[in-house]
């Protein structure tokens, strides 16, 4: 019965929503501003398949990735798609430059991309992109508190399972082995002790992954090593060695199980803590800058490049100013709200677009929880048309709305919004300036 009533309400709302849409096909959806961060990489500019992108881990790989796309006479070839993270590339270098990069953590999230592709005719298309996120407090990886949590977590391996830690057990075992080898000199002792030492996984690889073959292989190895040292052992000594080998096998398999179990727990804990972190810090400060450009080269040489267009983006998102620290940061409003501000500039140098350039800037205030949110948005835009008059369009658009989750995959949205042209021809001013919307939709808007 309840479902039936709900279906009637949904049908009514859908009908009403359709009527609420504008007669000219302009709906309130058009007044919403897209505050998602744009993808400005060389690959998105040239529509390169992400699977074809090379991400070199060191300078050598970078050089190898580039060299195939530059001919001997300096001409560029299509098919280059390379993304660089200089911080990672240089942080691995032992040269002095690495220290400079490591010191400046904000450079960690700097990415550069370059791509080439075949144009429509014989021309070559080239693009580059720069993505830089100097501040990202929503990133759990860079959070000191979370890093410290996991540093302490690392010490918990074996806690509750063993009375002694793994290195304590190993020291005890090797000390017993050493005592049984008192008839050998220092170097001879080391030569035999190393067969009982090394990392557990190396011992497993050397002697076998089941205890029976492990003991047999290790016994053969130890006896052969003693023979090589020209050491004769009696039956008591052989008996002792066999006991020690069994102890070594037990220790190895114990370490193997403990490490494997710990690795699994660690990964689960990372996912859990990251999730908690993101829930707590989803609206912390993020600052991003992006830029990208597209060129055409008729002859395919670097000297021949002419720019087609370029775009610059800057954005920040975070808590409402004054609610980031102190007692205010603990308030319900601080935890449930977010401010987003963005600015975009695009210049069109090609002959395809009717615009010469466009600029927009705006912001959004979001308040609510994952299942219930309210939003207020505003954007100012200005664009210049190509042509003799170089006419300029200038307008603002705004929306105030809210959404509530009805059930999984069903959201109810209510919004009012509009736009106002500050400059432009009369035709554009005919666009309705205000709308109201009720809608039931399958996914969340904000």
């Amino acid at each position: 019965m309840k479902t039936k009533y709900f279906s009637v309400v949904v049908l009514f709302l859908v009908h009403w929503t359709m009527n609420a849409q504008n007669r000219d096909g302009i709906s309130i959806d058009d007044y919403y501003v897209d505050f998602s961060v744009p993808d400005i990489t060389a690959f998105s500019i040239l529509d390169v398949n992400p699977n074809d992108v090379v991400r070199p881990g060191n300078v050598k790989e970078f050089a190898a990735g580039v060299v195939n796309y530059v001919s001997e006479n300096g001409n560029l070839k299509p098919g280059l798609a390379i993304e660089l993270a200089p911080y990672r590339l240089l942080a691995r270098s032992k040269k002095r430059v690495a220290t400079t990069w490591q010191r400046n953590k904000s450079l960690k999230n700097l990415q550069l991309s370059v791509a080439t592709a075949q144009g429509d005719s014989t021309n070559l298309l080239v693009a580059w992109g720069v993505n830089w996120t100097p501040i990202d407090k929503t990133d759990p990886v860079g959070d000191k508190g979370l890093q410290n949590y996991f540093a302490n977590y690392l010490s918990t391996l074996g806690q509750g399972d063993f009375s002694k830690s793994l290195p304590e057990q190993r020291k005890e075992h090797l000390s017993t082995v050493r005592d049984s080898l008192d008839f050998l000199n220092g170097n001879q002792k080391i030569s035999v002790l190393e067969l009982f030492s090394t990392k557990y996984d190396e011992r497993l690889a050397r002697y076998g992954e089941d205890s029976v073959s492990y003991v047999a292989a290790m016994r053969d190895t130890v006896l052969s090593r003693l023979a090589k040292l020209a050491v004769q052992t009696d039956s008591d000594q052989n008996e002792t060695i066999l006991t020690l080998i069994s102890e070594n096998a037990a220790l190895t398999f114990r370490a193997f199980r403990a490490e494997a179990d710990f690795k699994e727990r660690f990964t689960e804990e990372v996912k859990k803590q990251k999730q908690n972190f993101l829930e707590e810090n989803w609206n912390r400060l993020v600052v991003q800058f992006k830029a990208g450009a597209k060129y055409s080269a008729a002859e395919g040489t670097a000297n021949d490049l002419s720019i087609l267009n370029y775009r610059i983006f800057g954005g920040l998102a975070g808590r409402v100013p004054g609610f980031g620290t102190g007692d205010a940061a603990e308030s319900k409003f601080a935890k449930n709200s977010q401010v987003v501000c963005q600015a975009n500039y695009t210049s069109y140098r090609d002959g395809v677009s009717s615009l010469d350039w466009e600029f927009s800037t705006g912001g959004r205030l979001l308040y609510g929880k994952a299942d219930k949110r309210f939003s207020g948005e505003f954007q100012y835009s200005k664009a210049s048309m190509k042509g003799e008059t170089s006419e300029t369009l200038e307008y603002i658009q705004y929306t105030v709305g809210g959404e509530i989750k009805v059930s999984d995959g069903l959201w109810f949205e209510l919004a009012v919004g509009g736009q106002k042209f500050l400059q432009g021809d009369d035709a554009t001013k005919l666009v309705p300036e205000f709308g109201i919307k009720y809608a039931v939709q399958k996914k969340s808007r904000f």
Binding site: L146, K171, V270
Partner: protein, 121 residues
């Protein structure tokens, strides 16, 4: 297995432990005393193992663990220097790839042997 040879008549033997490439780490070095440290506390990575008279024929063992909470793998490295009277007796170094959101470790053992220095006149 490392062989660390030191002067029986010299000063105390110390170790310096250096970690590179990982923000999250923890180590335990077990000698006559146990030294534990991690990147959260990071309370100094130089430890005094003891005076030579107590170290002869000792076995020491250590585990150094690295954590990686990022979604990219990292390469982490550790170095231990055993020193006496300002001189490096031995260097041990190892590195390991730590997969994304995972943990990896390096470990080792050493036999410490004291030598009496003889002076020829």
């Amino acid at each position: 297995m490392e062989l660390i040879q030191f002067n029986k008549n010299g000063g105390p033997v110390t170790i310096d432990i250096t970690i590179n490439g990982a923000n999250i780490w923890s180590y335990e070095y077990v000698g006559d005393s146990t030294f534990k440290n991690n990147s959260a506390t990071s309370n100094g990575s130089t430890h005094i193992l003891g005076s030579p008279v107590n170290l002869d024929n000792d076995i020491h063992s250590w585990d150094i663990r690295f954590g990686n909470i990022s979604e990219d793998s990292i390469v982490a490295a550790a170095t231990i220097l055993w020193k006496q009277d300002g001189k490096v007796l031995k260097t041990w170094a190892d590195q390991v790839m730590v997969p994304a959101e995972s943990v990896a470790s390096v470990s080792g053992d050493a036999l410490l042997i004291g030598n009496a220095l003889t002076v020829t006149i």
